[in-house]
Structure formats: structure tokens, C-alpha cells
């Protein structure tokens, strides 16, 4: 049962949470927009949900959804003037937006300034209450209460992740996904084909922001605290590096990036003080040898082709 200790479970939970964040940056990138506002939207989602559960005593899951919606609403307001910008200009504008959000959260009374909000409802507790209500206790499963709560949180996140991933894959194959792809590939061509560019860019921006806001709410109610510095510039870089290291052509890229970057610090723990050196070195190496990220659109095809080639070569040898 050592593997199931609450610490390991929380690490895995954060891998899954970062997986959802990776999907959020992926969807914005689908139209070729480099937005660095994801930490800001996370912050909005986190604080909205936290204030709703703490001050208004709203049910946890309703608050999570409202937090995500708040992030989407702000994205609509921010997107209108900024989405006309391209490339790095959009990146700078959204980066500025994230900083503004951080400073606002730092100075408002309702957000409790730099100390942030603590003692929030925990997802684990809430789910465990439900579980007990249907008559299943941790003891009857054979784990401690702490473990049970961590497990329930993890299951909940995996479920959410699976649903969101499924919807993203559906989106990819849909009319909207095609439009996103065309806009990313060639904006002039997309315009000439009659696509309403601004509408689709806004749509991608809002979906990405809603997901980021949702992740913010989840994050706050897993750790049960939220401070403005949870969503600072470092968080922006972390989210972006999922897509940069993993690749942003297909959804599996950022997901793999999230898995790798979240688990690396844990896997490298035995290196103690050399940990961050290794972490940095791995990032540099990936960029040097795979500048478009570890997983590209044709990576899987190539792998399978090689395997089938090897298989046919092996067959030939048999004769």
C-alpha cells in the first residue's frame, strides 16, 4: 500500500489536472493563437469558485462550474480587443492581462490579499461524505481515510479528464475543428473559403479559458488554499511548456508534455540538489533534438510504419 500513499496520489492527481490544463492551451493553439493568459483565467476560476464555496456556501461542484463560466466571460471581454493581434503581440497582451489579474487579486479585500483564501472545501472531503452517505467507509475498502479521500479526488479528476479528452477528440473531427485547423494553417485561405475568422478565434480562446478557469477551481479545492502567486508568470511558462516540449500539433503532444514535466521533478528526486539542473538539461535537449515538440502529427504513423516494417522484415528472415 506504500504506492497508494496520499503524497503519491496527489502527484498523480496533479498530473491529471495538468493534463486538463494542457488541453486548454492546446485548444487555444489550435487556431494558432499564442495566449499567455491561461494562468490569469485559472486565477479567475479559482477565486470565483473559492469565494462562492467559502463566503456564499454554494455547493462545491456548482461553484467549480461558475468559476469556469466567469473565466469564459472575462475571456469574451478580453478577447474582443486583443484577438486582432497576431503572434507575439497577442502573447504580450495576454501576458499583461495575467499580471493585471494577479495584482487585482493581491489587492482586493474579498480575496484576502497576499495571504489568499485558506480552509476551502476539499474535493476529497466532499466526495468522501457522499461515499459514506451511500454506506461505504474507508475501512470497508481497506484503506485509511486519508488514502480514500485522495483516491476519490484522483478518480474524480480522471473521470473529468476522460470526458474533456473525449470531447476534444470529437471537436478535432468536427466542422469547428476543421475551421480551427484551416485558420492555423493559412488565415488568408481560410478567409477566402468563407470562414468567419474572428468568430472561430474567439471560440477557441473562450473554450481554452473556460477549461483553464475550471482547472483553477479544481486546483483551489484540491489544495484547499489559493493565493495570487499560485498563478504568476511561472505558471504561465509551465502551462506553455507542456505544449512546447510535448508538441502542439495533436492533443497527445501537450498531454505528454504535462505528464513528463509534472512527473520529472518527482522522478529526479534522488538527485537532490541536482534535480533542477537535470530538469533544465532535459528541456534543452528536447528543444535541440525535437524543436517542434516530442510528439508531432506523424509521430504515431512513423512508429507504426517502422514496427510493421520490422515485422515484415522479421517474417522474411523466417523463410
Amino acid at each position: 500500500m506504500d504506492l497508494l500513499n496520499p503524497y503519491n496520489l496527489q502527484v498523480i492527481t496533479f498530473i491529471v489536472l495538468n493534463g486538463i490544463l494542457a488541453i486548454s492551451i492546446y485548444i487555444t493553439l489550435m487556431t494558432g493563437q499564442l495566449s499567455l493568459g491561461h494562468a490569469g483565467f485559472m486565477s479567475i476560476g479559482a477565486y470565483t469558485a473559492s469565494i462562492l464555496t467559502k463566503q456564499a456556501d454554494l455547493p462545491l461542484f456548482a461553484a467549480l462550474l461558475l468559476g469556469a463560466l466567469a473565466a469564459g466571460l472575462i475571456a469574451l471581454l478580453i478577447g474582443a480587443p486583443t484577438l486582432k493581434l497576431h503572434g507575439l503581440y497577442l502573447a504580450i497582451a495576454t501576458l499583461g492581462f495575467g499580471e493585471v489579474v494577479r495584482v487585482i487579486m493581491l489587492n482586493m479585500e474579498i480575496t484576502n490579499g497576499a495571504l489568499g483564501l485558506t480552509g476551502l472545501k476539499s474535493i476529497g472531503n466532499t466526495l468522501y461524505e457522499w461515499q459514506k452517505a451511500i454506506g461505504v467507509s474507508a475501512q470497508s475498502v481497506g484503506v485509511s481515510v486519508m488514502q480514500m479521500k485522495a483516491l476519490l479526488t484522483l478518480f474524480f479528476l480522471v473521470l473529468l479528464f476522460a470526458v474533456i479528452l473525449f470531447l476534444t477528440l470529437r471537436l478535432n473531427r468536427s466542422r469547428i475543428g476543421r475551421a480551427f485547423e484551416a485558420i492555423k494553417a493559412d488565415e488568408t485561405a481560410a478567409k477566402a473559403m468563407g470562414l468567419q475568422i474572428s468568430y472561430y478565434k474567439m471560440l477557441a480562446f473562450i473554450i481554452g479559458s473556460v477549461l483553464a478557469g475550471f482547472c483553477g477551481g479544481l486546483f483551489a479545492h484540491i489544495t484547499t488554499t489559493v493565493t495570487p502567486d499560485d498563478f504568476n508568470y511561472h505558471k504561465v511558462v509551465e502551462i506553455l511548456s507542456f505544449a512546447v516540449i510535448g508538441g502542439s500539433e495533436i492533443v497527445w503532444g501537450p498531454l505528454f508534455g504535462a505528464l513528463l514535466l509534472t512527473s520529472l521533478p518527482e522522478l529526479l528526486r534522488s538527485l537532490a540538489e541536482y534535480k533542477m539542473i537535470m530538469y533544465g538539461a532535459i528541456m534543452v535537449l528536447v528543444m535541440a533534438f525535437r524543436p517542434h515538440g516530442l510528439i508531432a502529427a506523424d509521430t504515431f504513423q512513423k512508429l507504426f510504419r517502422r514496427r510493421s516494417k520490422q515485422a515484415s522484415a522479421a517474417k522474411k528472415e523466417e523463410f
Binding site: R178, E181, D186, T188, A189, A192, G194
Partner: protein, 238 residues
């Protein structure tokens, strides 16, 4: 069908075209010719809604359309084949064609038009599942034209269809353009390849440094001494 009057477009302080007027009657092929930098593509982009004019009017099928967004123009029945083809390289030929019909909802009509494209452009049928980016320049141009036709336009705008193509491919492209016109689509071509463009044109305009300097039937312009000298490598002064 399309009437452009006194159209002027600027890039910042620089005037790219000044008081351009032209007329494209229904069912005809009209060519707009001129050298590099004469403002041909600017004119085309302004008509197609990719640029906003500074002044002047554009009337399409009786409606004033200057300043409209491109998606509204596609809906109104105008389709642009952009300069440099603009194929979606990571999508297949089939997907590129489907994207051309993005605004249409009539599944049966789209299917019929898809079949029509397969007969007009047999090369596309062979390569339906190939990625657009892996085809040759001429094939990409065919695909770009077919993709524009998938929106079932009344007016087809072609921006430099001969660009970067071998002469034999160019004459194939122009054959196709003539065929499209005979099937009932009105065509406006912008070209540097003056000879080919005027040969198939019912009417032509010559653009120089942002202004229309000559106009006439395709044949008349082909035989015009000034046009011959400037664009067709015609007789030198004796």
C-alpha cells in the same frame, strides 16, 4: 455582375491603387493585367474583402459590397483563388475540397459538386487522400480552383493562377478556366502572364502603377502596340 468604380486602397500612407474602375459582365471572362507591383493583387484583395478600400464603390449583383467581410462575400457568391494557391498542406485533397464548401448546408448539392470537380480535374480524383502539401504546383493550383468552386460561386476571382508554373501547366490551367466559364461561372483574372490572360479574356484592363491605363477586348489589347511593347516583348523600335 461586378462593377468597381473609382476604387482606391492604401497601405498606411502609400496609395497602392488609385481610382480603379472596371466592369465584369455576367458570363464573361475579364482579365486585369500589369507588371509586378502595379496593384493587381491589391485590387483583387479589395474586391474579395481582404482589404478595406479608402474610397470608391464595388457593386456585386446589384448590392454595394465594399468593406464587407470575406465570409459574407463568399455567401453572396464570390470565391477567391488566392495568390500562391494557399493550399492547406496538412489536409488531404478531399478535406481541402470539403473546406471549400464550408458555408454550404446542402449535402446533396455538395456531393454533386464534388463529383463534378472529379470529372473536371481528374488528377484530384487520383489523389483524393494525398496531403495537399505534397502535390506539385500545377496540381495545387487545380485544387485551389476546385476548392473555390466548391462554394458554388457566381463570380470566380483568380489571383495569378500561372504563378510559378511551367508553361505547359499554365496552358492547362487556362484551358480549365475557359471550361469553367463555359459552364456558366463569371471569371475575373489578375495576371502577369499577359498573353495567356488576354487570349481567353472577353475584355481586359491594363494596370500600371495603381491606375488603369488601357482597356479593350482581349483581342484588341493583344494587338495593341503599347501593350505588345510593354508586356509581350513585341517589336523593338527600329
Amino acid at each position: 455582375m461586378l462593377r468597381v468604380e473609382n476604387l482606391s486602397t492604401s497601405y498606411g500612407q502609400i496609395k497602392a491603387i488609385r481610382d480603379v474602375s472596371l466592369h465584369v459582365p455576367e458570363g464573361k471572362i475579364v482579365s486585369l493585367i500589369g507588371a509586378n507591383g502595379a496593384g493587381k493583387t491589391t485590387t483583387m484583395k479589395t474586391i474579395a474583402g481582404l482589404l478595406t478600400p479608402k474610397s470608391g464603390t464595388v457593386t456585386f449583383c446589384g448590392q454595394r459590397i465594399e468593406g464587407w467581410k470575406p465570409h459574407r462575400l463568399v455567401e453572396a457568391g464570390m470565391a477567391l483563388v488566392p495568390e500562391g494557391r494557399a493550399i492547406l498542406g496538412k489536409m488531404t485533397v478531399l478535406e481541402n475540397l470539403e473546406m471549400g464548401a464550408f458555408q454550404r448546408k446542402d449535402a446533396q448539392g455538395i456531393k454533386d459538386d464534388m463529383e463534378k470537380m472529379m470529372t473536371w480535374f481528374p488528377i484530384l480524383k487520383e489523389r483524393l487522400n494525398q496531403l495537399g502539401g505534397t502535390m506539385s504546383g500545377g496540381q495545387q493550383q487545380m485544387l485551389s480552383i476546385a476548392r473555390a468552386l466548391m462554394s458554388r460561386p457566381k463570380l470566380l476571382l483568380l489571383d495569378e493562377p500561372s504563378m510559378g508554373l511551367a508553361p505547359i501547366v499554365v496552358s492547362d490551367i487556362f484551358k480549365v478556366i475557359r471550361q469553367i466559364n463555359q459552364e456558366g461561372t463569371t471569371v475575373l483574372i489578375v495576371e502577369q502572364n499577359v498573353k495567356q490572360a488576354l487570349k481567353i479574356a472577353d475584355y481586359g484592363y491594363v494596370l500600371e502603377v495603381g491606375q488603369i491605363v488601357h482597356e479593350g477586348t482581349g483581342e484588341a489589347l493583344l494587338n495593341d502596340e503599347r501593350v505588345k511593347e510593354a508586356y509581350l516583348g513585341g517589336r523593338k523600335h527600329a
